[in-house]
Homo-oligomer: 128 residues x 2
């Protein structure tokens, strides 16, 4: 990810570049949905796959964006890789935004699906 900040003359705006960089990462519905899933702690990729309905490669792409921005962190455990947010304060940003847009705290109700990972197995879901 490369900045294209070549402000015409003076760069009075340079101090804002760091914030812009993070805002850019948040400018994507799938990534916001992923962060929403990670609100209650770490989850594996198959979990997100099952809950969001996207294909694995697509989710992995979005995870890599979040990871490179150092918003999330991964941890391997056997076959599965678990993701978690590094700095919980990102939710302060997201919550403040939701207060403006007037969206319910959890519009995204967990569907009755699950994957084979330990986390999902503890749920009621039934994989097809």
């Amino acid at each position: 990810m490369v900045l294209n900040m070549v402000s015409s003359k003076v760069s009075e705006t340079r101090p804002f570049d760091v914030q812009v960089q993070i805002f850019k990462v948040l400018t994507h519905p799938a990534r916001l949905a992923i962060l929403d899933i990670l609100r209650d702690g770490e989850h594996c990729v198959c979990h997100m796959e099952a809950h969001l309905g996207f294909r694995q490669a697509y989710i992995s792409q979005q995870l890599s964006v979040l990871r490179e921005a150092e918003i999330i962190q991964d941890r391997r455990d056997g076959w599965n890789i678990y993701y978690r947010v590094i700095d919980d304060r990102i939710y302060e940003v997201l919550d403040a935004m939701r207060r403006i847009t007037g969206q319910p705290k959890s519009e995204l109700k967990k569907p009755n699906v699950s994957c084979a990972c330990p986390t999902c197995s503890t749920h009621v879901g039934k994989a097809s």
Copy 2:
């Protein structure tokens, strides 16, 4: 501004589109700088021009993005057009982000410049 959200299959992420739309507007250093100037109330365009060092057309472009997103509002008074933010809660988002990026509340110290508008004339500045 048109959304390009054509999620592969399911659109579990659609509820996030509204937030994404606003985040997109915040994904720009000049626009963040403008919002920062508007923290203490309304200001005319020439004011921003003087304080940011960008050319008038450029600032006007960014203002139009903020205006179309209904983040700011304009008011005409004689020659000048004054802008103000519509919903102050946008600063909750910006402040939350600054807490993460660790930027000082007002990195952007007002330079000793001014334009001919009534607002600027009350300042100490001297236009070249």
